[in-house]
């Protein structure tokens, strides 16, 4: 016979107001197998926990039921208390009589609440009788990290992990690390030059002996589980031998062909063999294969002729690299909503309508105009410039209901940059609301309006069209209630920040969640902001949602600290709530294999003593299994069971109702 103790919590008045806890305790005492029951004001308090420990020892309890709040709150507390009193922690069960009972019932006579608490507790008592003691699972940890994305968030995460003494592989899709931050001119609210603060970090990452940078590479596949991932990285052919290239740049100089520069967002051309920008890390050019005449038509080859060390290799193929890592930081960043979607603002038709990021390039001293603000159509200095905020953002019709967060700040910055370069010019800003929450942010936007003469107009723009070489902006100023017509020379659209194309397919490869905008989901938006539902995979930067540089950097460091904590011991313990297959009865139909969302079930050979394969079984990898129970439901002959939630336990609970 079991020796079960039942502890009913009053939770101050939270439970007691609609549940007669004393009645519940005395009713439960009558249950077969229950040898002790009591109630207390706050079971989770130190004296409450002490009561539990004392009862386990004095009454020689072999299982306890705590009827209190959600197991999310205090299951850990009471399992720890049980363990310290010598009881297996998985012989401690929580009944939720607060969120699922007292809080939803308003009957102060306590009749309904008490009855329901009795039902719930009785079910769990019967369930507990079938509980088996479980042991935590220890799995080894491979102390090498993978960082996906070489923008500022990824660089920061990689540097912090490497400074903590662990090896890092930094994978970047583009030919150079740096990400979007490398494109920016100056940064708000301090107005320091973006490249001047970023490039030292890029160089530090390049020179760090614990960091291996793989540019022009993408994650192809991720297998395994926390502490033991196997990642396959596709290293695209650069057609340049990285080990011998000196980065002299002769090839780029002599290449006779040009293509639109991705880095300059089409504002400028680059050579077909190129580095995206002069400070590229690594400073090794790549050949843009679809545009290379040698690779497409077999003619030219000038770069190979001029290359001193003979590093050009037209035969190079995509390479697949396999690496073993223990943790993954995802820092894939953001993209801007394609401007083509704003036909109503003349984008694509009117040359002098540009995006905010294009304006960054125009204002950047390393940009196509050398930091002079010229309008794209005729190279004239714009005397009147109009900035439009919330382009796509907060606009259900464009499919983006969120605020892109950084546009208010960078538009204010743009007006200042403009004013600093074109002293007589006039900047107008059409805005919906100014959102400047952040240290020194409000002061910054005030400065733009009060000291830098930017004219802020609250309202939306109805129409933009060209007339006599001007871009005419028609809008409403809702504060004065008037229609405004501005004959501008140039218009800058603060387009919405969106997730990277392919963000969803990467999430599927990694097994992490994402929202309807394809931004990645945190485990908990407040309390676990860098964790994902898949243990061992962390998030940093704007792949989570619109975010500015300081936030991205903090998240990079936060992920790094999580990775370093994971790497602090050789083994890690994890919850033993995992599925197991009764192999004598397995039909090897692979229903569970195809059903498992975590690819935790593998096909296992059954061998006889001579080593001949005589059959097959499904086998659950305990390290990967998340205990979701899908396989249990999928199995037709019910040979898969979930430890801690066995069919027997669940049936016992149901039958007790």
């Amino acid at each position: 016979m079991s020796r079960i103790g039942v502890f009913v919590c009053q939770c101050g008045n939270n439970i007691e107001s609609t549940v007669d806890t004393g009645q519940v305790a005395s009713d439960m005492k009558e249950m077969p197998g229950v040898v002790f029951s009591c109630t207390y004001k706050f079971m989770c308090s130190s004296p409450g926990q002490e009561m539990v420990r004392q009862a386990i020892k004095d009454k020689r309890l072999d299982g306890i039921v705590v009827s209190a709040c959600s197991p999310h709150m205090h299951e850990k507390t009471f399992r720890k208390a049980s363990e310290s009193a010598g009881l297996n922690p998985y012989k401690c069960e929580i009944v939720n009589i607060r969120e699922q009972c007292s809080w939803v019932h308003h009957d102060t006579t306590k009749k309904i609440g008490t009855r329901k608490s009795n039902d719930l507790t009785r079910m769990i008592i019967e369930r507990l009788k079938k509980n088996k003691p479980l042991k935590k699972i220890n799995i080894p940890v491979n102390k090498k990290a993978l960082v996906i994305g070489g923008g500022i968030a990824g660089i920061q995460a990689a540097l912090d992990i490497a400074d903590g003494g662990r090896e890092v592989i930094l994978v970047e899709r583009e030919p150079s690390i740096g990400g979007n931050m490398a494109r920016l001119s100056e940064t708000f609210p301090t107005m320091d030059c973006s490249q001047c603060i970023l490039t030292p970090k890029m160089v530090e990452a390049e020179l760090h002996d614990k960091i291996k940078i793989l540019t022009y590479s993408e994650v192809e596949k991720l297998d395994g589980y926390i502490g033991n991932f196997t990642v396959t990285i596709k290293k695209k052919a650069k057609y340049v031998d990285e080990s011998t290239c000196t980065g002299c740049g002769e090839c780029m100089e002599k290449c006779p062909f040009k293509a639109d520069s991705e880095f300059e967002l089409g504002l400028n051309k680059r050579k077909v063999i190129y580095t995206p920008f002069p400070q590229a890390v690594p400073n090794i050019p790549v050949i843009d294969a679809p545009n290379c005449v040698m690779l497409t038509k077999g003619k030219c080859g000038i770069c190979a002729k001029v290359c001193g060390p003979g590093s050009i290799d037209f035969e190079q193929k995509d390479e697949f690299i396999e690496e073993q890592v223990g943790a993954v930081v995802v820092a894939t960043g953001y993209d801007l909503m394609p401007n083509e979607r704003f036909g109503e603002y003349g984008y694509g038709k009117i040359k002098d309508v540009v995006s905010g990021m294009q304006f960054e390039r125009l204002a950047s001293s390393s940009g196509p105009t050398g930091g002079q603000i010229f309008r794209p159509s005729d190279g004239k200095v714009p005397e009147q410039i109009v900035f439009l905020q919330c382009i796509g953002s907060r606009d259900e019709a464009k499919g983006v209901s969120y605020c892109s967060k950084i546009c208010c700040m960078y538009t204010a910055k743009h007006t200042m940059l403009y004013k600093h370069k074109v002293h007589d010019g006039q900047a107008y800003v059409f805005y919906m609301d100014i959102r400047a929450g952040g240290k020194r942010y409000e002061e910054f936007t005030r400065r733009a309006q009060e000291q830098e003469d930017a004219m802020y107009l609250r309202g939306r723009v109805a129409r933009i069209y060209e007339r006599d070489g001007k871009v005419v902006v028609q809008g409403a100023d809702t504060l004065s209630g008037t229609q405004v017509v501005i004959e501008a020379d140039m218009v800058v659209l603060a387009t919405a920040l969106v997730s990277r194309p392919g963000a969803d397919s990467l999430a599927q490869k990694l097994g992490i969640g994402y929202d309807k905008y394809k931004f990645y989901n945190e485990y908990h938006p407040k309390l676990k902001p860098v964790e994902t539902v898949t243990a061992g995979i962390f998030l940093s930067g704007a792949c989570v949602g619109p975010m500015d540089i300081p936030e991205s950097v903090s998240m990079g460091s936060a992920s790094a600290s999580k990775v370093l904590a994971l790497f602090s011991s050789d083994e890690m313990a994890r919850e033993p709530i995992v599925a197991a297959v009764n192999k004598q009865r397995c039909n090897a139909c692979w229903d569970c294999v195809v059903a498992c969302p975590y690819t935790a079930i593998e096909k296992e050979e059954v061998k006889d003593r001579q080593g001949n394969v005589i059959g097959w079984n499904a086998n659950v990898n305990e390290g990967v299994c998340q205990g979701c129970g899908v396989c249990v439901a999928a199995c037709r002959s019910k040979v898969v069971d979930l430890a801690g939630y066995t069919d027997e336990q669940v049936f016992a609970a149901i039958n007790a109702f």
């Binding site: 397919s505 599927q508 309807k516 195809v594 097959w616 002959s637």
Partner: protein, 301 residues
């Protein structure tokens, strides 16, 4: 056709690669065909193929028959409809395609039950053919190692016809109470003999869910609740897998219209998942496949 079949069987057994040919043979009085297991080349004359060959022999390749497995690599005489079952079994890892030699028979239909053919003096008339034969698109075997018989040019009607489909429409037109009453009446006859399970090659589980008793998932006694849970669980377990071979209904001693419930589920699967079972041995039945990339629904992402 039979001569060709016997020749093929002789050749296969002679080569030593095949241990057993599973096929059809006459009973003593030549009034019924019965499964035969030919292991010697000289016995191949026992093999026959005609309208009496109703049985779906694929069941002998399941783990329910370890003694058949012990005879060595099997060659199986299979009509197109039987091959569908083989395809599902391959998809579900019950054996590998290479482990079985499929002798595909071109077929011009069989009887619904053998006794009906006998009653018609051995003649196969359309009225005594099952619904599956009238709508058959695999009279020329779709997956096989050898095809016996001449190619037929039968094309099934665009909209499936027959009693089963009429019945489905009729039941669909009922209200919930009517539908429940219909099945309650039919299931009430169930005696839990499990003939439907035994004859089915997709009911290959080593231990059927109904035999599991810790905990007892299905009430094994033959009362209304137990009958409902058994028949509905079996229908659910066959959803997306059942190939409409009709063996369960044929084997049922109390004439429960199992074809109706199984075909209805197949229609649902085709509508919802665009899946028809038994055509592609590479495709796992979709009911429980976790596949985000091809998922049409948004909510799971």
């Amino acid at each position: 056709m039979e001569a060709e079949l016997r020749e093929k069987a002789k050749e296969l057994l002679g080569s030593g690669e095949i241990g057993v040919v599973i096929g059809f043979g006459w009973n003593k009085r030549k009034t019924r065909t019965t499964p035969v297991f030919i292991t010697k080349a000289e016995d191949t004359d026992k093999l026959v193929f005609n309208a009496y060959c109703v049985n779906n022999l694929s069941v002998y390749l399941t783990r329910k028959y370890p003694d058949v497995k012990a005879m060595g690599k099997a060659a199986i005489v299979a009509k197109g409809c039987d091959i569908k079952n083989l395809a599902v079994m391959i998809a579900e890892g019950q054996f590998k395609r290479d482990d079985t030699y499929i002798i595909g028979m071109t077929c011009s239909g069989v009887g619904y039950k053998q006794e009906l053919i006998e009653a018609n003096g051995g003649e196969l008339k359309p009225e005594i053919m099952p619904v599956k034969c009238h709508n058959c698109d695999v009279r020329n075997p779709h997956i096989s190692d050898a095809v016996i018989g001449e190619t037929t040019d039968f094309t099934p009607p665009e909209e499936p016809v027959g009693m089963v489909f009429d019945k489905i429409k009729q039941i669909e037109a009922m209200d919930a109470k009517g539908r429940f009453g219909f099945w309650e009446e039919h299931f009430s006859r169930c005696i839990k003999c499990y003939a439907c399970r035994q004859v089915c090659s997709l009911c290959y589980c080593d231990r059927c869910i109904t035999d599991k008793n810790t905990p007892q998932w299905i009430d094994s006694s033959a009362h209304a609740r137990g009958n409902f849970s058994w028949n509905l669980v079996r229908a659910m377990h066959l959803t997306g897998r059942c190939t409409f071979c009709g063996e369960c209904e044929r084997a049922c001693p109390v004439n429960i219209p199992l074809n109706v419930i199984n075909k209805k589920m197949a229609v649902v699967m085709e509508d919802a998942f665009d899946h028809r079972s038994g055509y592609d041995p590479e495709v796992h039945p979709p009911m429980i496949v976790f596949d985000i990339e091809n998922d049409k629904e948004e909510f799971i992402k």
